[in-house]
């Protein structure tokens, strides 16, 4: 499978484009790094790929077919701030199983404890919440994972823990991953290949 975006252009204002003719492709099982300066449109591109933003020009497709706007989206986006991506009035077990019933082996590999299930989101740390967000996004139907600075807010040990788990799971499920980060050293450790947004963005 191959996630492709072709000639993507996007701007909040008509005469001020953030993305101009961006092309990118991501294959199954591939771990691709995306680096760009702050404000260069990385997160915007992520949102477009995952279907959060509709008002763009160009094409996003999987194997040449448009991504259906209804049903489970095979392209899942995980954000930098997990606390903003969970419903503060839901308990963790409801948040976790929002998209699919997360199987026990995924919970085990993320080290998610049963005792956390009855907590509210504000009772967990950022690293713990991010594990929930990832477990929630990695369903069997997920084909591509867009990781938008998912470990920027956690400490080095948690970062290593999270990425080691994610890499194992995506390998097993043959998921393609787009790793967005500022940390070149992290990218070079994780990724098979790196794309610089400045090179593919002609703004």
């Amino acid at each position: 499978m191959c996630l492709k975006c072709e000639n993507i252009s996007f701007g909040y204002k008509k005469n001020n484009l953030i993305l101009n003719n961006v092309n990118l492709s991501l294959g199954s099982g591939e771990v691709l790094g995306l680096i760009g300066d702050s404000g260069s449109g990385k997160s915007t591109l992520c949102k477009i790929l995952a279907g959060y933003e509709n008002n763009y020009q160009g094409n996003v497709s999987i194997d040449g077919k448009a991504i259906p706007s209804k049903g489970y989206n095979p392209v899942q986006l995980v954000f930098q701030h997990p606390e903003k991506a969970v419903n503060p009035k839901w308990k963790m077990k409801d948040i976790l199983n929002e998209g699919h019933i997360v199987p026990q082996d995924i919970l085990d590999s993320f080290g998610i404890k049963k005792s956390w299930f009855n907590r509210w989101p504000n009772e967990l740390s950022g690293g713990e919440l991010q594990r929930f967000a990832l477990a929630r996004a990695l369903s069997p139907e997920t084909k591509f994972l867009i990781a938008d600075e998912i470990t920027t807010m956690v400490d080095a040990i948690t970062q290593a823990q999270i990425w080691n788990i994610v890499l194992d799971i995506v390998k097993e499920l043959n998921i393609g991953v787009l790793v967005v980060s500022h940390e070149k050293k992290l990218i070079s450790k994780l990724c098979h290949d790196v794309v610089y947004l400045d090179d593919i963005n002609t703004v």
Binding site: S38, G39, M153, V154, D155, A156, A160, H182, K185, K189
Partner: protein
Amino acid sequence: MGYMENMGNMGNMENMENMGNMENKTKTTAKEKKKTEALLKVENISLSFIQYASGLRQTELKVISNLSIEAHSGEILAVVGSSGSGKSLLAHAILGILPSNAKLDGKMEYNGQQLTPEKKEEIRGKEIALVPQSTNYLDPLMRISNQVIGCVEEKNEGLMKKVQRDIFQKYDLKPDVDRMFPHELSGGMTRRVLVSTAVMSSAKLIIADEPTPGLDEKTLNETLSYFKDMANRGCAVILITHDIEAALKISDKIAVFYAGTVLEVANVEDFKNNGENLRHPYTRALWNALPQNKFQAIKGHQPMQDEVIDGCIFYERCSKKNELCSKGIPQLKSVNGGVVRCNNVS
């Protein structure tokens, strides 16, 4: 040569004694003068939150215990540790902006004076400035330049406006940013706006709470250099971060937090040679987990605040634990020019 000049300027016997252990550091004159007395002393503070458990029954949730740090003028103290280790709470405790159900014990001194709640209120925003962690700290309905300037008397407004513009220029924030609202800024721009609020004030103590995540390498180095500038001008800077690499670039000392207490205060040099000279197993684990080092994670989690632990707080995850470690919290002791809270270090 610079070293000799500094000595000439001081002519103070107390400082002369300190010179021995500073041979290979180049320090500015301002730094040396104020070296002896800490600007901010935090001694053995504990912080807990009163919570309602069920009905009217209250429980106390301890989030910081026996925590001590010192910040010196002209120096950068980095505070590193995982989220939930109490880093931000320490900042809020120093500023006196904790929620009303917080209970703070222990001693804090600023410039030789007891730091009481009244004193905190008097000097915060003036002598102590905070660069907040979350980009949500900006008012979503206020234009950027207005919130950076804050409340000023009308006659000073023109002047402040100019100062603000100059600082923004330095940070590469274009004139049209002045009139933008927070949602129009990118993550990196928001960071630069937050940093410039601290530069605007003439504070002597700057507490920067995670000022760098989400910045690209160039902006990161620039931001760090501004903190270094502040320190060189004689400010004391407390840089709260989980980015050890960033901390190492500019700091003088690094305090490692874990589950609400300090496990180690190390000098920057200790991180050289693969961290051989680091004292605490947790600090070493942090170092080994960096992508450029081994990218190796140790098992387990930082204990939750409501878990009661008798022994060393790191016991569960420690590779060097022995029987003694499960009984009683190890005392902080000085080792090799730093401090550490571990039984197995001598």
